[in-house]
Amino acid sequence: MTRLQKEESAAFDRQTIDYIQRAAASGLYEIRGLGAKRRVPIFDDLLFLAASLSRYPLEGYRERCSSKTVLGTRFASRPIELATPITIAGMSFGALSARVKEALGRAATAVGTSTTTGDGGMTSEERESSKLLVYQCLPSRYGFNPDDVRRADAIEIVIGQGAKPGGGGMLLGQKVNARVARMRTLPEGVDQRSASRHPDWTGPDDLVIKINELREITDWEKPIYVKIGATRVFNDVKLAVHAGADVIVVDGMQGGTAATQTVFIENVGIPTLAALRQAVDALDDLNMRGTVQLIISGGIRSGADVAKALAMGADAVAIGQGVLIALGCNSDSYVSKGQHLSAVEDYAKLGTAPGYCHHCHTGRCPVGVTTQDPELELRLEPEVGALRLRNYLKTLTMELTTIARACGKQDVHHLEKEDLVALTVEAAAMAGIPLAGTSWVPGQSAE
């Protein structure tokens, strides 16, 4: 009997063979949604050192632990006050339906946090449902207008996105329906490109003046955020501080996207863990910790992730993909009039299955989250989505405060780097945190 050989090449494994054959068949790079799938050091590679004899814990279920978070205290006369440091990241109407944007706003309002617009402007649904709404100023300026600037609670100037720093954006024509087209001043059905550079400024010195203009337009009331995709984070954060940002958002490479080239998602930018450390180092270097607030995003999933981010020096986090998953992304079913209905066949039509889907770019989301299709978008009922998302955000905040109490903190913002150790040498080096059981921080000290 002939033995079946199954010796797979490390360099040319099945995934690589599939990639080459797909490229050869199509002549096009792959575009897909969501974030990097490759393994990189993440918050799972850190652990907390809770209280014991040398630290005194708070009573885990009863004692008060504050999660109040204030953003934009540097120059704005009306900073943003949140009940939790967990915010909802910028995602566009176009990538998401108006019903999803409404669900995000409802959930954010219910837990006392902010949500954020995206490329394509502000919808009435998200403004009306969001008590606190951050309005993005993107290179494309799609739908950007002074009325919405004035009715926003903060402005976020987007320099880049973790999934595609330096890459601009793309919304494929199948998602550009009449309303999306009208808001973006484009013909219906065209593949819409978002520029990678802002149209009216080109460098950090210009950004100083741009921020000043937005402050003048808003009479210095609203916090100005600057969002950067994680690459040269240490320098970029310093430049954003110099430019006058109230809040800096750093988006690591695990951050999601509605549609970007796979080669970009998997090969450009640095992991969130490394980005956060560099951002905090930059603020420390300028003695601006506490003056300029830092939001970290890109692959934040759990209350433990949030706690670790805060311990490393972030003031808040922003979540995108986790939020979509809470709404039902990659679920095998959707809820319609109280009934759970299977979406498995619709995943199969896309050539995928629940748990593996990254087909946001197609506009054929089987659970109605990343679609503009009039039938598919009904699969996400705003009330149901808002409830699920509210539950998720509440769970994360509870997990966060549980860990903070165990570390003896009455405020989640009192978590500190000293509370953490690293599980791997890579995570220790990137996060600047000692390897567990040692005092060794690679690159900083000898055991």
């Binding site: 199509s26 002549g27 096009l28 575009i31 494309s140 300026r141 950007f144 207008n145 002074p146 009325d147 600037v149 004035r150 793309m170 494929l172 024509g173 973006r184 001043t185 484009l186 013909p187 065209v190 593949d191 490109r193 520029a195 149209p199 009216d200 400024w201 080109t202 210009d206 003046i209 741009k210 000043n212 203009e213 003048e216 337009i217 808003t218 009479d219 210095w220």
Partner: protein
């Protein structure tokens, strides 16, 4: 019509930009002031930005970045040159630069009319979203880049890559064009184009013949992502 009771003067040698903009945003309407004269701008940035009322603002001197940025309803005239981003993201109203304009004049403007008597530098009308721009002189490279809607009339010449990645905006050029950008092409002037150019020239106070202009619009070959677009997409 300007008279003593509805007119206010700001001297930026003595008053701050913040005082000026705060007045324009809040107190002008309350005090029924409709005509504002600004002296000694001396290249200051963000003058008369974010206006949201039918004010008439006359700025006597050169201005810096973003004069009349995000303008809505107001008429702003600069009796001098303007720095980058003049009338950026304008929604309506009229902005008139009597001298030259630096880069990105009228960037992403959604509506209204921007008139530049002199030349405009690089990226004039970039990401234009519905406004009209009339340039009495010439424009720099990458003007009308990714312009989505609106009209740009260029009475002089245009540098490289004019109209690169145009969507539905239309450009009219009277002089030479060094090169067109990706997906931009010359098209015949229609009767409608001649009427439109005549109207825009009239609004700008210019007297060129519409028949001297050529029309540039998108070939629309890059409207959909495909392999044959190669690196031009």
């Amino acid at each position: 019509m300007a008279n003593l009771s509805n007119t206010r003067q700001f001297d930026l040698a003595k008053q701050s930009v913040r005082q000026l903009n705060d007045f324009l945003h809040k107190n002008a309407a309350a005090e029924r002031v409709t005509h504002i004269r600004v002296e000694h701008p001396d290249g200051a940035h963000s003058l008369a930005c974010g206006l949201n009322a039918p004010l008439e603002v006359q700025i006597h001197g050169h201005v810096g970045y973003y004069v009349a940025g995000m303008n809505k309803l107001a008429a702003v005239t600069v009796h001098g040159n303007a720095g980058p981003g003049a009338a950026e993201n304008m929604m309506s109203g009229r902005v008139h630069i009597r001298g030259f304009a630096s880069t990105a004049a009228g960037a992403s403007a959604h509506g209204g009319l921007l008139v530049i008597d002199g030349d405009a530098s690089l990226r004039c009308g970039i990401s234009l979203k519905g406004a009209d721009i009339v340039v009495g002189g010439s424009v720099g490279s990458f003007s009308a880049f990714m312009a989505q809607a609106g009209r740009i009339v260029i009475c002089g010449d245009a540098e490289d890559a004019l109209g690169d990645s145009l969507y539905e905006a239309v450009i009219y050029v009277r002089g030479k064009v060094r090169s067109l950008g990706a997906d931009a092409r010359f098209e015949p002037m229609t009767d409608r184009d001649l009427v439109d150019v005549a109207q825009l020239l009239s609004l700008a106070g210019l007297s060129h013949k519409p028949s001297e202009f050529r029309r540039i619009a998108s070939a629309k070959s890059l409207y959909h992502w495909h392999a044959d677009a190669n690196q031009e997409y």
